[in-house]
Assembly symmetry: C3
Homo-oligomer: 349 residues x 3
């Protein structure tokens, strides 16, 4: 028997099952520096211990999406090694700040299973939680993936599909962010004078810049997250695969779009929740990523006078500048759009 594992197939999952994932991971200043080098992020609370301390944090925060990618990465060997596709995310909530020195671990619960009519694949729904070394939950999200069956004739349980919220309720967004002192927020250092009050629902922002992706970059990033999904690394196998080449991890596009969004959303310093996200089309090395955002909604946080929440829809495109906010009145399934992300960000008042 080969002690190496091919990963689980659709028929190997059962509703209610909880999977504790390997490998726990202490996050460090090394991770922050690499994240910065990979995406060029410029949000001040994640870049400067001094800026963070002035607001009441003990030191600079870890980038929220770095936390997301690390927790997500842990689930891959157990959940999606035999995935055909990542279909979506929902109800992703950031629940506690994460700092360098914290150790992240993850577990997932199977909350839905639905075999496809071809009997070759099925849809698997899992809720994943990320924890810090104190056992506090720092992140919770649902994702669903289409997974291969190993044996087409294996019987599978009756379909069970979870109810998922269309978006995260604004009144649950505060936990990730201790009360800060907005009077200490220095607009010059943060890069923008636009605060919560300056944004309007319906407003659109072209983030202007584009960044070209290299094979070495997305592989460095995906390995940093200890994400082992094969399609990102093995050019030999992918040559005869679906796309004929390595596929960029979808989260890489999320982080590129988030970093580009600094130009126009410099004070959106924290991601409090991801309402939903779809990788509309694949991204490959050599592609140049652009992004634009639309303010979908604004919300007060109960009892909080320091920060408000902006609901933002960000689309990333491939080889398509966003000067005219392309496709803003259409469904996103058009050539050029690769990511459609709906999230809540916190911004000082």
């Amino acid at each position: 028997m080969n002690k190496a594992t091919l990963g689980r197939f659709f028929e190997d999952f059962g509703i209610g099952e909880t999977i504790r994932h390997a490998t726990p991971r202490t996050v460090t200043a090394g991770d922050q520096a690499l994240y910065l080098a990979l995406y060029g992020s410029r949000f001040a609370v994640q870049s400067s211990d001094e800026f963070a301390r002035a607001l009441g944090y003990p030191r600079a925060l870890l980038d929220d999406l770095l936390v997301f990618h690390i927790v997500f990465g842990k689930t891959v060997p157990d959940i999606s090694l035999n995935a055909v596709a990542n279909l979506g995310y929902a109800d992703c909530r950031f629940l506690a700040p994460v700092y360098t020195g914290d150790t992240l671990s993850a577990q997932s619960e199977v909350i839905g299973l639905k075999e496809n009519s071809n009997r070759k694949t099925g849809i698997l729904y899992v809720r994943t939680a990320g924890f810090n070394q104190k056992g506090e939950i720092v992140l919770s999200f649902v994702r669903w993936v289409m997974v291969h069956k190993h044996d087409q004739h294996a019987t599978t349980p009756d379909a069970e599909v979870p109810q998922l919220p269309a978006h995260v309720a604004a009144d649950s967004l505060g936990r990730v962010c201790p009360v800060i002192d907005p009077a200490q927020w220095d607009n010059a250092l943060s890069g923008s004078s636009h605060r919560f009050g300056d944004y309007l629902a319906g407003e659109r922002i072209d983030h202007i810049d584009g960044v070209t992706v290299e094979e070495a970059e997305h592989m460095l990033a995906t390995r940093l997250y200890q994400n082992t999904a094969r399609v990102h690394f093995n050019a030999l196998a992918e040559k005869s695969g679906r796309f004929g080449r390595r596929l960029v991890y979808g989260g890489h596009a999320m982080s590129l779009a988030r970093a580009l969004s600094f130009n126009g959303l410099a004070n959106a310093f924290h991601i409090a929740a991801i309402n939903g996200g779809r990788h509309v089309a694949p991204l490959f090395a050599g592609g140049t990523v652009f992004a634009w955002s639309e303010i979908l909604d604004k919300a007060d946080l109960p009892g909080r006078h320091d920060v408000g929440a902006l609901r933002i829809r960000t689309r990333a495109t491939r080889d398509l500048p966003c000067t005219d906010h392309p496709l803003h009145d259409a469904t996103a399934e058009r050539p050029g759009v690769i990511l459609d992300l709906d999230y809540w960000a916190l911004m000082p008042r």
Copy 2:
């Protein structure tokens, strides 16, 4: 109104104006490791806490050029997003040592403006200062850039061009370097027995090795410095740009040349000042960088018996080995030379 910014144009600057730049940045061991991976630097004071402590430092120093690049990077969104070209540096002085854990910020003062006769562009002179978290100035330099006007018909102030020193005076070089104990300097560990007394003005050194640059590398580096200049990142836009491809950040060539110069200048452990620097020709991925140096001058530091200063002119070339110190008797504008850097380095006696 798009809340994203296109950056300032020539007519947006006024003499005497001071600009505080975003984003403050805590430098860490992560930055040092990445800098090492990007350039392969081997100077012992920056590599080893123990070596540094033996000399009297609290721990290893940050690489001087890493400090320069980070401070420089902060100025880009405000100063040179619409630059046609970086024309030069002068009077760059390193004024305090920088360690991991320090937080760097930057501000610039407009000290010169001169519209070009075509009225489409102008030359902007700024003095930039970098600070640590205690408010101490760690770096000061002047640079001048050719910047686009947004509106060709905009009126601009009368030309004002600052007087700049041809080189930094030797008696101002000591501040970056606390008194060290040269008796504790271990030549075997530092990689060379050649001390200050062993170098002669006029001496030439071929640094022998060459290193080929990859797109992923220069983009990782430039993002690490949070430098957002578009020409380095956007292959799609640059395809129809001046060079038809992404341009490598000029500072990347400076750091490559400095790392190569270890072979021959291993004990030149500190850059105290940059007298001037010109990016003579562009560098692109795929090019192989070589370097050679000439000792222009030697200077004692007032009241200091531990270290002396070497004035060094280093030229970096592209795809041109430097065995014969090419172009040493000519102006530098010849095929192959990409960088002409004149700096003061400190060396133990």
Copy 3:
């Protein structure tokens, strides 16, 4: 005289000579993060401070091969700058755990010299030791390299070839690993329930995954180790060299194979010794690396009930998946095999 050095040639070495190498190096969380991004390693003791502490370590360990590469890198400027080829390793023993914050230095003793009959080259044998800042030896290994003579007519001493052990004796493997508490070893977090007792001599494991190597990646890695061997960096010179292109540092393939081996050997948390290693064929960027392992032997450690030692032979291949453990009954010199590594790993009971 050029103060830059071309490195030593065969006739410059003498039996018994000890060489202290530059540059001492403090290892940090930055190095660990980069190592992770370069190889995607998932061994829990090196990834998580908490996992390591539960076992009795003060915090996460540095990856053993990262220690090896850093110590090896220091020897390159003195030993192998003029090497034709690295011929082999032997008697490599890891002798003390290494943690972030430790400062590594290295020295080598010349233990063998044998001129080749062509009088143009010779075989140089050195024993290299790596030390931490307390002067404790952390690593010891022998390597032999074929080195150019500078002057074909130079006389060289009588041939002297050291006796080297065919493999490291099991009773000397314990020093690198303080006694741990295997009851605290969490199989879910470590990624496998297979402990020492579950492996049998003769067992074979296909590590399944493949990873494609990029130029930027192997150069970043090799510079991180401050390894200056020219063949890895200079595409211009290598165009007219032996292979027509840059050669990947052999240690890069070792670390790729080790990271791939997690799938099947997740609890083999420590490399205690390398019995021998050969770079059977060169690796170049664009190649996809696979690996498979064979358990050669098992050994108890004297007086130790916490861990046992597995002797593992791992072959890495290029563009050749290992489903059928290719070449397991043949000599390794076949197309596709690039690395043949024989090592002792520790595993909890």
